[in-house]
């Protein structure tokens, strides 16, 4: 067994308030410079919505990530490397700037410099690409909070898959937020796409980086990444992407997006995995099996065999200790509430998500589907406004079972803890109903609710 360490993140969408503080602090720290105006290493999308760049999840169109060929072997969806090398100069699979958005600014100077005139001075918008006046018609967050709903949301590639379950009406409105950074995948299709070998995965922590000296600006990585988290700096002509804030994490400070997350929903930790089993796991035929397959690649940091193998692989003791304390490992395995984003892309993403609860649909609330009442708890999960099917398309290649299981655990935690809150006796049966012990529920509660700084990272 070979063992490698991977920095990973879990975001608890059930706590995300969609405030975009992560996006702003990230942008201010890393990409508020020319050539990267349109670049958001971290962005937050309202779902349902088209995302950024728009409809990036439509891999039938953008061909990101991997697929299996007829022999069941992994192949880049955009085509093998040979085909790529031939199409380097004309890539129809690259989102255009309009698919991201055309960045703009305003004539702020007019507010000072306007001579005496008929009307109040105003700063009108101007494109940062052309320098010309512009009507703003798209941005990195255009459909925030269901803006443009019935006109724009139907183009959401995820929604299209479950459109039979969803009506975009006031009565059935639902939304949640999806913050996204680079997935720092175990099986990164961007790395595999790069003809220059400029993209690489750091051996010590799995962070995926672009070697700025080696990058030749082919942009195959942009196509290869199904999450569209590699960007082209049109000033330097090189690719750039989220660095997992390596200058910070190397000295023990969490990433900017995590530390500034006001919702306190981001967790960072070490995961140990067996790199030799990645391809096998990424190649399981059934998309719905990929979630479990990816879990199977990750190793138990308490397992003496794993520890021994890790030592043999040169992983230092403090990393092993960190792996044992990893909130990521707890959330994926012990509490079983974190799920990967689009496992069907077969990149083995390492930023996982806890899916969100949501209000019950009004028509059903009369029947007593009450979020913290254990008795009718489980019926309520299917009465939530956010369709399970939508979440399943995001996190489990369409399989509703794992999503339902997570939501049931969250709901069980609420009913279990309500009794504690009200000074009533603890009810183990609530925990048992979701395959947990009361102690585990309280441990999960500590990590999710109290979420102490020292335990989040």
């Amino acid at each position: 067994m070979k063992v490698m360490a991977q920095l990973a993140m879990v975001m608890n969408l059930d706590k995300c308030i969609g405030c975009h503080t992560c996006s702003v602090t990230c942008k201010q720290a890393w990409t508020n410079r020319s050539g990267t105006e349109y670049v958001w290493f971290n962005n937050v999308e309202t779902r349902p919505g088209q995302g950024y760049p728009r409809t990036y999840q439509d891999q039938e169109r953008w061909k990101g990530g991997w697929e299996l060929n007829s022999l069941g072997r992994l192949k880049l969806k955009a085509g093998g490397r040979v085909r790529k090398l031939f199409s380097i100069f004309a890539n129809p699979l690259m989102p255009s700037i309009q698919d991201y958005y055309e960045p703009w600014t305003y004539d702020y100077d007019r507010l000072f410099s306007a001579p005496m005139q008929e009307d109040t001075p105003v700063a009108r918008p101007r494109s940062l690409i052309t320098g010309e006046p512009t009507k703003i018609s798209w941005s990195a967050n255009w459909d925030d909070n269901l803006a443009g709903g019935p006109e724009l949301a139907p183009a959401d590639p995820v929604l299209r898959k479950v459109s039979d379950q969803v009506r975009l009406s006031f009565e059935q409105a639902f939304m949640f937020y999806l913050p996204r950074i680079c997935e720092h995948c175990l099986n990164p299709s961007c790395v595999a796409s790069c003809p220059s070998g400029a993209l690489y995965k750091r051996s010590e922590d799995g962070i995926v980086l672009v070697d700025q000296d080696r990058c030749r600006g082919w942009r195959m990585c942009v196509t290869g990444c199904p999450y569209k988290k590699v960007y082209f700096n049109h000033r330097t002509g090189k690719a750039e992407k989220c660095t997992f804030c390596f200058p910070r994490v190397e000295v023990g400070i969490p990433t900017v997006c995590s530390e500034t997350c006001v919702g306190r929903l981001r967790y960072i930790g070490i995961i140990l995995y067996d790199p030799d089993r990645v391809v096998e796991a990424a190649s399981v035929p059934d998309d719905k099996a990929l979630y479990e397959a990816q879990k199977s690649v990750m190793l138990d940091p308490e397992d003496p065999a794993v520890i021994a193998a890790a030592r043999a692989s040169g992983i230092p003791e403090d990393w092993l200790e960190a792996a044992r304390r990893s909130p990521i490992h707890k959330l994926i395995f012990e509490y079983g509430v974190a799920l990967p984003l689009h496992p069907e892309y077969r990149t083995m993403p390492m930023v996982w998500y806890i899916p969100p609860l949501s209000p019950v649909v009004d028509v059903l609330s009369g029947t007593g589907h009450d979020g913290e009442d254990a008795g009718n708890l489980f019926g309520a999960i299917d009465a939530l406004r956010i369709p399970i099917g939508y979440l399943a398309e995001l996190f489990t290649a369409g399989d509703p079972a794992p999503v339902r299981a997570v939501l049931r655990r969250l709901a069980a935690m609420r009913s279990y803890m309500r009794r504690v809150n009200l000074g009533q006796e603890r009810d183990e049966s609530i925990a048992a109903a979701v395959g947990m012990t009361g102690e585990q529920v309280e441990g999960m509660h500590r990590l999710l609710a109290l979420a102490p700084y020292g335990e989040r990272y």
């Binding site: 503080t21 201010q28 960045p103 595999a192 000296d213 009004d362 009369g366 979020g371 809150n421």
Partner: protein, 1231 residues
């Protein structure tokens, strides 16, 4: 076998692996390298920095978040949240990392193209000033000439807002400003000078320094909390408190949480996590919002009432709680609570009326005839259930100030078990008003049987019995005795399903659209949870419910839920109102610095709403009578009156402040009074009674009564809070405007207020603003001074939401020619003093102030019985039915010196907050040591305030929350009055210094300045001192009030919680009804909730926020409305009503309800606002479609808790009742 897709690929990759530095995986799929390569340098360099400085944002939100500001090579690079808040105990989430995207985008401003780098002034004004000064040789004479010559006046006033700004020097700018102040004080009086700067907690020193300058001149500081409509008038009405609420970590303690009209993720971003996290503890979350809001995402249930109908839903919930938890079953916890802590057991007299009875006044000891003390009329009465006899319990207002009340102002019932209901005896028919039948059936009167008894010769009942009648909760016996008439019986609702009778769940469904069953269930759960948890049901309530004309009735109906269920004064329970509150925790120190009360008292403090209402001439557009708010059972107090009449009545009775006060210069009046040989008060009262002297508010359009100089800092009046924005531009400024309304016709005009034939255009001589960015206010200002940002100065910050005080610190020095507010006002004061020494010298100033809350002035109006001396012909008595008159000496040449030192009045008079006076001699000595002392001049030997940090130290030293010694002293003083113990609450040895706040946020200590306790690391919740230490609320009964008995409250029919619908703009102003229209535009309700992408107007021009939103002004609307009007997403639209015009782009979303549009608050005219097709002028701001509408009951004063204090009580500048026509416009826009 798993592997790569083909041999060719493998070959290529295999070849490549030898060319690379790293390790290619065996399967050739990926490339591993050891980190630390040369190419990392860019990112490492980008992250490196020279220092990190603690500061925060002085913006009008309740965040008060501590931030790390990164500096590299002397340049601010970015910011991130601090995470070092002291622990809240480990049993709940911590406060880190407070912040939001707005704050994270702040550093953009530092070097942005909208940064004000130099002083600017209107070019035409500067030219005229320079010429006049060259000719006349004197700045004051030059200013006088320009402003008194109609042509030159018109030239620069009409240029306001039209560009043409030029750079000037600080010296010239401060000279012009000084000249304007001197001329105004000399010619018109110091009360014609005003300052507007809101929310001291967001940067206490920056606020205080300007307010101190204005106050030392005798100028008027304008209130903001009521003006912003953030003041919940229900709070003074019910609690006798401005607003006191829990910190957000206390949400964790709630076991049931309703978010009602409050979009927590957006408006309380740094606190929202407590809500999301408390759910995991089993807290149930219910969201009440008309749209599928950011908060609704977190709800277990979402209730979507039609906008403005929240009061109906709350009344129905109250109906359920009264019926199920007070009548059908009694809950000991609730019963005990309401007996001790509310007015429910107190007796109310009944007056005969139309064959029935109406509730009248609280029965008092005076009515019983046994108590001959003058305060007897303020001692309320209840019945002892053991003896059946009337009892005068401790704790009412009659015990608060009287010598005989010492030790008895407390909530100790001394063994008496108050009787809640008089049921069992005689029943009479009580008439109660209803307001839900607008223009329709019924006489607006409910007839319900109420049990009564005769006591003290009066027919009385209890507040509880009246409440049951009001809510329509029948007794098991049927609710009516045999004596009840058939009609009366009919008017008791038969069941929850009785849709015809207020206030059943079915009735509310017809109004709110929310299913009755859902309302019943939520009400039941809320109360049941309070029962199970000992009062841990909480309602977070916000602007969505509070910004309506009748918000006080909405809030009283909501607060009834938390008070009936014993949730107020309990951690995790009660109300949590967080609209514009921002608790200035070290309030005593701040207040005494800000109002210069260390040098002279009293300061002039004005109710903002009335000020703008009069001086922007919005009163002239009132085409309706104040009677529209009257009850069908009213006595006619408002009949035939215009709102402006009632405003002048309130002023002349000394209820509310009124500045400018008289139609003469108060400096001259002081001289005249002195010359008369009489005392100033009686002299002025007689002059006014005889008509020789008038109130300025009775002729606000006469040039002598205009405000002349207005300074705006830390604020963006014209881009944000100015309801009736276009009226401001037209009348106050004399600029172009898009007002489309007609003035009141002859029969609609006020009686007591002079109607000048021509409404003035351009009242202000000088509009001065200090800012670091260009706003709608700076665009219209005559002079704009460049301010330092929040990362460039020292200051203090605090909030409701957390218990800490923490510092602003400069990360860099103020760049270009910018200056801190502290430095700017000192420069202005120096320029002023040097001109004033010669032009003004030492003068006496006659100051009129209203009857004040938390003083014996509250005893001025027994029973709230209104008698107007102007009607009766009496000569008024200052301090009783007329403002108090004080003569204050003003040494105008010494203003700058006084600004810069702690004055001597503190040594003699101490400091006072909420009725408790503190001796601060020791603190003054300590400040002298810490700050050093002044040498020479008026302030010789006094502690210095020369630097901003000196003022920070002074604020901290003079407040109980930050100086435990004072808190202990205050509790000892309070304990003597209450006779109860507050021992152990104060942390006597805690003295927070400014350096402490710079190193880390510091928790404050428990102090009588507030009503809750932080002792022992406890989370702050309001009123825990009242509940746990038997300290009375600052009200008439000393308890929380369901019942109000002032004459004007009766007139409005609001003695008890009641449902009042939104104002009908069709009836009032002839606007089309909501839903009317089609392709050419439809009429919709127009709401302006708080935005996700700005904090009021701040950040709405910030490129990062604009990039994350839609990049300019937008209006959200439903697909249904959009389709009717032919509007598509991102189309340009125009919204038009009588008040003005807005041009914006549409956002069409199914999260919006039909019939309502949102234009998020404070999208102003600086960014991407084209010209309007309707007006031909620049499209307006969100407030171009609103205007002020004053509710007369907010003008009540001089009576118990209904007495004025600054930002405590006053008319609200509400704006939610408005409607507009919205239509698609030409998509070709022109700027």
């Amino acid at each position: 076998m798993a592997g790569m897709d083909g041999p060719v690929s493998d070959a290529l990759l295999r070849l490549g692996r030898h060319l690379r530095a790293g390790t290619v995986s065996e399967d050739l799929r990926t490339l591993h390298q050891i980190g630390g390569r040369r190419s990392d340098a860019f990112y490492r360099d980008r992250w490196s920095h020279d220092k990190v400085v603690r500061s925060t944002h002085g913006v009008n939100c309740t965040g008060s978040c501590s931030w790390k500001v990164y500096v590299k090579d002397g340049i601010i690079t970015w910011e991130a949240q601090q995470t070092d808040y002291p622990s809240v105990g480990g049993d709940r989430p911590e406060y880190e990392p407070r912040g939001c995207p707005r704050g994270a985008a702040f550093s953009w401003y530092t070097y942005s193209p909208t940064r004000v780098r130099f002083p600017y002034a209107r070019g035409v004004l500067v030219e005229m000033y320079r010429a006049a000064k060259a000719r006349l040789g004197d700045p004051v004479a030059a200013w006088a000439e320009i402003t008194s010559d109609p042509d030159s006046r018109h030239r620069y006033q009409s240029a306001r807002g039209r560009g043409g700004l030029v750079r000037v020097s600080w010296e010239e700018a401060t000279e012009i400003i000084a000249a304007a102040h001197v001329h105004t004080i000399k010619t018109y009086g110091p009360d014609r000078v005003a300052g507007f700067s809101p929310i001291p907690a967001m940067s206490m020193v920056s606020h205080a320094v300007g307010a101190r300058f204005v106050s030392l001149l005798g100028g008027t500081m304008l209130s903001f909390y009521d003006w912003y409509a953030d003041l919940p008038v229900a709070s003074p009405q019910m609690f006798g408190d401005q607003t006191d609420v829990p910190e957000s970590a206390d949400w964790w303690d709630a076991a049931y949480l309703m978010l009602w009209g409050s979009n927590v993720p957006v408006t309380r971003t740094p606190d929202a996590h407590y809500m999301t996290e408390a759910r995991y503890r089993g807290q149930k979350v219910v969201v009440v919002a008309p749209d599928y809001s950011d908060a609704a995402k977190f709800a277990d249930e979402w209730l979507a009432p039609h906008p403005g109908t929240d009061g109906a839903m709350a009344m129905a919930m109250g109906h359920v709680i009264l019926r199920e938890f007070f009548v059908e079953r009694q809950v000991p916890y609730f019963t005990d609570y309401v007996k001790r802590h509310t007015d429910l057991p107190f007796l109310v007299t009944l007056d005969e009326r139309d064959g029935g009875y109406v509730p009248a006044k609280f029965l008092t000891a005076a009515d019983l005839g046994r108590d001959k003390e003058p305060e007897a009329a303020f001692k309320t009465v209840l019945v002892d259930s053991a003896t059946g006899e009337p009892v005068v319990p401790n704790g009412s207002l009659g015990f608060r100030y009287a010598a005989a009340g010492e030790g008895r102002w407390n909530l100790d019932l001394e063994g008496v078990d108050p009787l809640l209901t008089l049921e069992g005896g005689r029943t009479v028919t009580v008439l109660l008003p209803r307001f839900d039948q607008e223009g329709g059936a019924g006489d607006g009167v409910l007839r319900r049987g109420v049990p009564v008894r005769e006591i003290g010769g009066r027919l009385v009942t209890t507040v509880f019995d009246l409440m049951l009648a009001q809510y329509g909760v029948a007794r098991p016996s049927g609710g009516s005795s045999a004596s009840a008439s058939a009609q009366e019986t009919r008017e008791w609702p038969a069941s929850y399903d009785d849709a015809g009778a207020p206030y059943t769940p079915a009735w509310q469904e017809t109004i709110t659209g929310v299913p009755a069953a859902q309302v019943v269930r939520i009400a039941r759960e809320f109360a049941r949870n309070a029962e199970d948890s000992g009062g841990r049901s909480m309602i977070i309530m916000g602007a969505g419910a509070n910004h309506w004309f009748h918000s006080d009735t909405i809030y009283r109906a909501m607060l009834a839920l938390t008070t009936l269920t014993g949730c107020q004064g309990v951690n995790g329970g009660g109300w949590a109102h967080y609209v514009g509150q921002e608790k200035c925790r070290p309030i005593t120190g701040w207040a005494h610095m800000a109002f210069g009360t260390d040098w002279s008292r009293p300061p002039r403090q004005m109710i903002g709403t009335a000020y703008w209402y009069l001086h922007t001439d919005q009163w002239r557009y009132d085409t309706y009578s104040a009677e529209v708010v009257s009850s069908p059972l009213g006595g006619g107090a408002f009949t035939g009156k215009a709102t402006a009449d009632l405003l002048s009545q309130s002023a002349r009775l000394g209820w509310m402040p009124s500045y400018p006060t008289f139609d003469r210069n108060p400096l001259d009046l002081a001289d005249e009074a002195a010359g008369s040989g009489q005392e100033a008060g009686p002299y002025i009262a007689a002059k006014v009674a005889s008509g020789e002297l008038g109130f300025a508010c009775e002729d606000p359009d006469a040039p002598a009564n205009w405000p002349r100089v207005l300074t705006v800092w830390r604020a963006n009046l014209l881009g944000s809070s100015a309801k009736g924005n276009e009226y401001f531009l037209r009348h106050l400024l004399g600029a172009d405007s898009s007002v489309r309304a007609a003035e009141a016709a002859l029969g609609q005009r006020p009686d007591d207020v002079t109607w000048q034939q021509q409404a003035p255009r351009g009242k202000l001589d000088l509009l001065l603003s200090l800012d670091f960015r260009m706003t709608s206010t700076t665009l219209f200002s005559d002079i704009v001074l460049p301010a330092a940002t929040w990362y460039e100065k020292h200051d203090l910050s605090s909030t409701d939401m957390h218990p800490f005080v923490h510092a602003f610190s400069p990360a860099i020095d103020p760049p270009w020619q910018t200056r801190t507010d502290f430095s700017a006002f000192h420069a202005i004061a120096k320029a002023f003093s040097s001109l004033a020494a010669a032009h003004l010298g030492v003068r006496k100033d006659l100051v009129a102030v209203p009857l004040l809350h938390d003083t014996p002035d509250e005893l001025a109006t027994p029973h709230g019985h209104v008698s107007d001396w102007r009607v009766t012909g009496e000569i008024p008595v200052p301090g009783r039915n007329f403002p108090k008159i004080t003569v204050v000496e003003r040494d105008y040449g010494a203003v700058a010196a006084k600004m810069a030192a702690v004055g001597p009045l503190l040594d003699r008079l101490g400091t006072t907050t909420k009725g408790i006076t503190y001796q601060v001699g020791e603190e003054i000595e300590r400040l002298a040591r810490m700050n050093g002392t002044v040498r020479g001049g008026v302030a010789d030997g006094r502690p210095s305030l020369a630097r901003d940090v000196d003022m920070c130290e002074t604020i901290l030293a003079l407040s109980g929350t930050t100086n435990g010694h004072l808190a202990a002293q205050g509790f000892a003083t309070l304990g003597r009055r209450t006779g109860t113990s507050f021992d152990g609450l104060a942390d006597e040895h805690k003295k927070i210094t400014f350096a402490d706040t710079q190193s880390r946020p510091v928790p404050v200590t428990t102090s009588p300045e507030w009503s809750g306790s932080e002792t022992g690391g406890r989370r702050y919740s309001a009123f825990t001192l009242n509940v746990e230490h038997r300290k009375p609320w600052h009200t008439l009964t000393g308890r929380q009030h369901f019942f109000l008995d002032h004459d004007w409250i009766h007139e409005a029919g609001e003695t008890m919680p009641v449902y009042r619908p939104p104002l009908n703009m069709t009836v009032l102003f002839g606007e089309p009804g909501v839903g009317e229209g089609g392709e050419q535009g439809i009429t919709v309700r127009y709401l302006t909730p708080h935005s996700k992408w700005s904090i009021h107007s701040e950040y709405q021009d910030n490129l990062l926020m604009l990039t994350l939103s839609r990049g300019g002004p937008t209006i959200w609307m439903s697909p249904v409305d959009a389709q009717r009007a032919g509007i598509r997403d991102n189309d340009w639209v125009e919204a038009v009503n009588r008040n003005g015009v807005v041009v914006a782009r549409a956002i069409v979303s199914h999260r919006m309800p039909a019939g309502t549009v949102y234009m998020y608050h404070a999208q102003e005219r600086v960014v991407d606002v084209p010209k309007s097709e309707t007006s031909g002028r620049r499209g307006g701001i969100h407030n171009s479609l609103t205007r002020l509408l004053i509710k007369p009951t907010h003008l009540i004063g001089g009576y118990a808790q209904l007495s004025f204090a600054f930002n405590y009580l006053g008319p609200t500048g509400n704006q939610r009742d408005e409607v507009t026509v919205i239509r698609r416009r030409s998509q070709e826009v022109d700027y």
